[in-house]
């Protein structure tokens, strides 16, 4: 069998991807201690957020003490808001891609991207699989701390929603992962045009932190109008960043339902396809400019 034939046959292709996936999983497991510690640490901000919002709600309650009924902020009760933050943690566990964009930019700068050019491996595909591996390992290691935290916080959650909501929630999580991947990959490709992208990445990080709904539910922005009927909430919802954190959490809490939900998922799919196309296009265009520095 010639080398080219073996690479082209579908079975061999599957085998190649399988081996890549396995290598990546093994590589990820080397630093499991580091990994576990990192996962636990990630829950610390939730603790401060619970206290912060409890304090905020107590003040809001104090102001309107005479009126009955439950206190809400932007349509969220206190428990619901805390559940929201916990759910964004899950969403971020799917959509965050630490070091992906900067890794691509670095490999362009230091020349290690050559390894993808000389080998019969598609770089974006390889990186995608390595992220899948990363996430698989992450969930395996992180399930325990996640389960523990969610169990401890179970009282914050509303009754478990129906299967349709679950299905939409799962879809939004998986799509959040793919969306996050192609978004960061596209940003990383900018490294072909600019050698130093770290400040650009910082700006992206900043925006994604605030506009993804990681810090507060985007519904809170609905009350802040820019001009006329348009509020900041409308603007942020038009941006795709809320798929990284807000969207899955809002789906689970049934803040987004029915037609709005279906439309949201379709738009997300559209963004995924657009960003995937963009990243491949940028990669091809970038290679034409690329001049392979470094050893």
């Amino acid at each position: 069998m010639s080398a080219t034939a073996s690479i082209d046959s579908p079975l061999a292709r599957v085998r190649t991807w399988w081996i890549i996936l396995r290598i990546c999983i093994e590589e990820r497991l080397i630093y499991r201690g580091d990994f576990m510690l990192g996962t636990l640490m990630r829950f610390l901000p939730i603790v401060t957020q619970i206290f912060l919002w409890t304090a905020v709600f107590s003040a809001v309650q104090g102001r309107g003490a005479s009126g009955g009924g439950t206190t809400t902020i932007a349509g969220y009760e206190k428990d619901e808001l805390i559940a929201y933050f916990l759910l964004t943690m899950v969403a971020r566990a799917f959509s965050s891609m630490p070091g992906l964009a900067s890794g691509i930019a670095r490999s362009i700068r230091d020349g290690s991207i050559k390894k993808y050019l000389t080998q019969p491996v598609d770089m974006i595909g390889f990186l995608f699989l390595s992220r899948v591996a990363h996430k698989l390992v992450y969930y395996t290691v992180a399930t325990l701390p996640f389960a523990l935290v969610f169990y401890l916080c179970r009282d914050f959650f509303p009754p478990i929603p129906g299967w349709q909501t679950w299905l939409a929630f799962l879809a939004s999580l998986v799509m959040g992962f793919v969306f996050g991947f192609f978004l960061e990959a596209s940003i990383g490709m900018i490294g072909f045009w600019f050698l130093e992208v770290s400040s650009l990445l910082f700006v992206y990080m900043l925006f994604s932190f605030f506009l993804s709904g990681h810090m507060f539910p985007i519904d809170m922005l609905d009350g802040v109008t820019i001009v006329g009927d348009t509020s900041w909430g409308d603007v942020v919802r038009a941006l795709p960043l809320h798929y990284l954190a807000y969207f899955p959490a809002a789906v689970y809490l049934e803040k987004i339902q029915g037609d709005e939900l279906v439309r949201g998922l379709w738009i997300e799919l559209g963004w995924i396809l657009a960003l995937a196309a963009l990243s491949y296009w940028a990669f091809r265009r970038g290679l034409r400019r690329y001049s392979a520095y470094g050893g």
Binding site: F51, L52, M215, L221
Partner: protein, 281 residues
């Protein structure tokens, strides 16, 4: 090592620091546009942060009922957080981050060979001047907030404020250096920065919010065991809220905690150096 030789070539720490500061500034000014971009990006972080709290105060009159932390009182608190963080980021953050890398690559050998205190060298070699833009931002925010709050701080409180700000910086520095020291034992320590961020996260809010069966022990741990709650709370209180007796007790304790943190982290750092085995070549 010969003790007399050591004392005879004792370096002038202040002058060495001045040279570090100058060199860092020269380097920053060499890549001037990079410097400006960095200053702008850290400022935009501050604006976003402020935006978040402006949003929160759209919905609530204060943080916690009856705590006194209204909008502008809290902004005094926030600017205090920014002061402390900008100082830590400017002077220590870039160095301590590098320390873990030096341990991993064996570059620490060179730092240890130099005839100067290793902790001093690895803590202050680089200064990130652009982080001080946040300091200026905090100054403006503090000025605006102070003009809006009802309470007027006494002269004594105003004098003590910068002192306690420095105590806060010292506590955070100690925590940072102690964490960095662990990278000698753990080898790889990529989570260091995350860990630091998550721990200091607790210091960002008024300590009154930590209440209840979990909050109270948490407040005690972060006041007495790892004293990060004092870092911002003590100085901010001096300016924003009328002082009660309890505050003076806390202020007295803060001095003690600062000294203990510095001594403890120093001890830990030296212990770490003792068990350092050069890596790589």
């Amino acid at each position: 090592m010969d003790r007399t030789a050591k004392t005879s070539m004792r370096p002038n720490y202040f002058r060495v620091f001045a040279v570090f500061a100058r060199n860092s500034l020269v380097r920053d000014m060499t890549f001037r546009s990079n410097f400006i971009i960095e200053a702008i990006s850290s400022l935009s972080w501050m604006f976003m942060n402020l935006g978040f709290y402006l949003l929160v105060f759209e919905y609530t009159p204060s943080i916690g009922q009856g705590t006194g932390w209204g909008k502008y009182e809290y902004f005094v608190f926030l600017s205090t957080t920014m002061f402390v963080n900008s100082l830590v980021q400017a002077f220590f953050m870039p160095n301590v981050e590098e320390f873990s890398e030096q341990v991993r690559t064996g570059g620490l050998d060179f730092a240890m060979l130099k005839p100067i205190d290793t902790q001093f060298l690895i803590s202050l070699a680089k200064i990130d001047w652009s982080s001080l833009s946040n300091f200026v931002f905090a100054l403006v925010l503090l000025g605006v907030s102070l003009s809006r709050i009802v309470y007027t701080p006494s002269l004594g409180a105003a004098i003590l404020y910068p002192l306690y700000l420095l105590c806060g910086v010292a506590i955070l520095y100690s925590l940072m250096i102690a964490l960095a020291a662990t990278s000698v034992w753990l080898g790889r320590n990529q989570n260091l920065y995350d860990f630091w961020f998550y721990i200091t996260n607790f210091s960002r809010y008024p300590m009154e919010i930590y209440q209840g069966p979990i909050g109270t022990p948490l407040r005690q741990v972060f006041t007495f065991a790892i004293p990060i709650l004092i870092v911002v709370n003590v100085p901010a209180r001096f300016l924003a809220l009328p002082l009660v007796e309890e505050d003076w007790l806390l202020a007295g304790y803060a001095l003690l905690a600062t000294a203990a943190s510095l001594a403890g982290s120093r001890w830990m750092f030296l212990r770490a150096l003792d068990s350092y085995r050069s890596a790589s070549s």
